[in-house]
Amino acid sequence: MTRDQSQLLYASTHEWADIEEAEGAKIATVGVSSFAIEQLNDLVYMDLPEVGRVVNAGDELGEVESVKAVSPLYSPVSGEVIEVHSELPDQLEKLNSDPYEFGWIVKIRISDDAYLNELLNFEDYQRQCAESA
């Protein structure tokens, strides 16, 4: 099963979030959009946060580094990091081929869902990408 891109929410900084309800909390699985991965081109390194880190939406979660540049990775939601995809930094090539399934980066238990309204739906995000391309 692969995540349906059209059902995800997107930050204008190109992170996607898949929001699910579990045990009375909202859990966001977070990754980077295929558009951004294509733009980054030739990834060589990824720096992930620790489990337990508390972040606000817009805070830096980590960094991705390509041959040419370092790019920050921002949290699209506010909450606590409850899981980190620790195998991902060793298999960055899979981020290209499978950004929405294998390419998940962290899971965050959302503490404040007010900010979710700020995220873009798929159509709006696609429009943003088209405008910047």
Binding site: Q39, N41, D42, V44, D47, E65, S66, V67, K68, V70
Partner: protein, 371 residues
């Protein structure tokens, strides 16, 4: 004031090929067409085509050109035979580097001789303005900027010469390294030069702007079956970094002199030759600055980047990185840096990579040398 962004004569070719375009030195330039690593490897194994039309092309005609260039350049230009190409610096009076350039001595089919200087795109206007006041002393020199009416294409890689000779009237294999000739292509003059900025064999050609798309298409067509790829600025940078070549604005600036940069070979200081900056360079030759340009191999998966600091085992700051990247050929991070001379022989250097001190082995450059 917003500056109009210029397009090279090959702009439409890049867009058709799906290149990612970025502004660079006032031009819209291809950063990459497919992947920086793939383009880099094509250049190392087969050949790659680069649009380098953004580079400045300045021409000196008439009597006194050699004397003028002898004043301006650290390298002696007078006595250069027809067809010779030299790498040189342009310094200010303090010995700081204003630009690094290639000068060619050329002869047209009608036996008109002139000198052509290729300067960095980012320095073109600065160098034009620098040259301007010297011209008064050399009234018979005609100085012209040919950048906008010409285009420049680099074809680099082990197959570049052999494959491309099929489409040239002049066999580029007859050109020695660092030599150039004016030949013709589609009945129009083309400067063909066995030079480059990748560490590979190959050539660079300068043609009229309107001829460039046809020549580019022909080069791609003749090389397609042999694995030629168009390559962008991204690969150009990783290729030159592996080859240990300095890039203006990074290894070279107005506060770096050629000797500190390890470019003594490009300074003809013998026989008390005088040129702009020669007094400063003669002093520096006996009394050098405290730092020198080196290669570093960070023991890290993360590349060191420009501006990252270098420390010795005592924790003293002893240098800074000027360029750094993942090396596609070595499959590991590489960097160039200025490091205190007294620390050059030492082990246990470290680079601060975003808050983490990482051991770095000091090595001689280049990182890559073609076989």
């Amino acid at each position: 004031m917003t500056q109009e962004i210029a397009k090279t004569p090959l702009d439409s070719m890049h867009r058709q090929a799906g290149a990612r375009m970025v502004p660079f030195a006032g031009f819209d330039m291809p950063l990459s067409y497919t992947s920086i690593v793939a383009e880099h490897q094509a250049c190392r194994v087969k050949a790659a085509l680069f649009d380098v039309s953004h580079m400045g092309r300045l021409r000196f005609d008439g009597e006194g050109s050699e004397a003028l260039l002898d004043r301006l350049l650290t390298r002696k230009v007078s006595g250069m035979p027809i067809g010779a190409v030299r790498y040189s610096l342009i310094c200010n009076e303090q010995g700081g580097v204003l630009d690094d350039v290639l000068v060619s001595h050329l002869e047209t089919p009608s036996q008109q001789r002139y000198h052509l200087m290729v300067v960095n795109a980012s320095n073109r206007m600065k160098i034009r303005n620098w040259i301007e006041p010297f011209l008064a002393e050399f009234p018979r020199v005609t100085f012209s900027d040919r950048t906008e009416i010409t285009a420049m294409i680099a074809v680099q890689g082990p197959l570049a010469i052999d494959v491309c000779k099929r489409i040239f009237h002049f066999d580029p294999a007859r050109l020695k390294y660092y030599h150039a000739v004016i030949t013709d292509q589609f009945s129009k003059p083309v400067v063909l030069s066995r030079t480059g900025y990748t560490g590979e064999d190959g050539f660079e050609l300068i043609c009229r702007a309107e001829e460039a798309p046809r020549i580019w298409e022909n080069l791609m067509l003749v090389g397609r079956d042999d694995g030629f790829m168009p390559a962008g600025l991204g690969a150009r940078d990783t290729l030159r970094l592996e080859a240990g070549m300095p890039l203006y604005g990074h290894e070279l600036t107005e506060s770096i002199d050629p000797l500190t940069a390890g470019l003594r070979f490009a300074c003809s200081m013998e026989d008390g030759r005088e040129f702009v900056g020669s007094d400063a360079l003669n002093l520096l030759a006996t009394n050098p600055t405290a730092k020198t340009r080196v290669g570093l191999l960070p023991d890290s998966r993360r590349p060191a980047r420009e501006g990252y600091l270098v420390f010795n085992s005592l924790g003293e700051e002893v240098g800074y990185v000027t360029s750094g990247s993942q090396s596609p050929t070595l499959d590991r991070p590489i960097a160039m840096a200025y490091v205190r001379r007294e620390d050059v022989g030492k082990r246990d250097l470290e680079i601060d990579i975003r808050g983490t001190r990482v051991p770095a082995e000091l090595v001689k450059i280049p990182f890559y040398r073609r076989k």
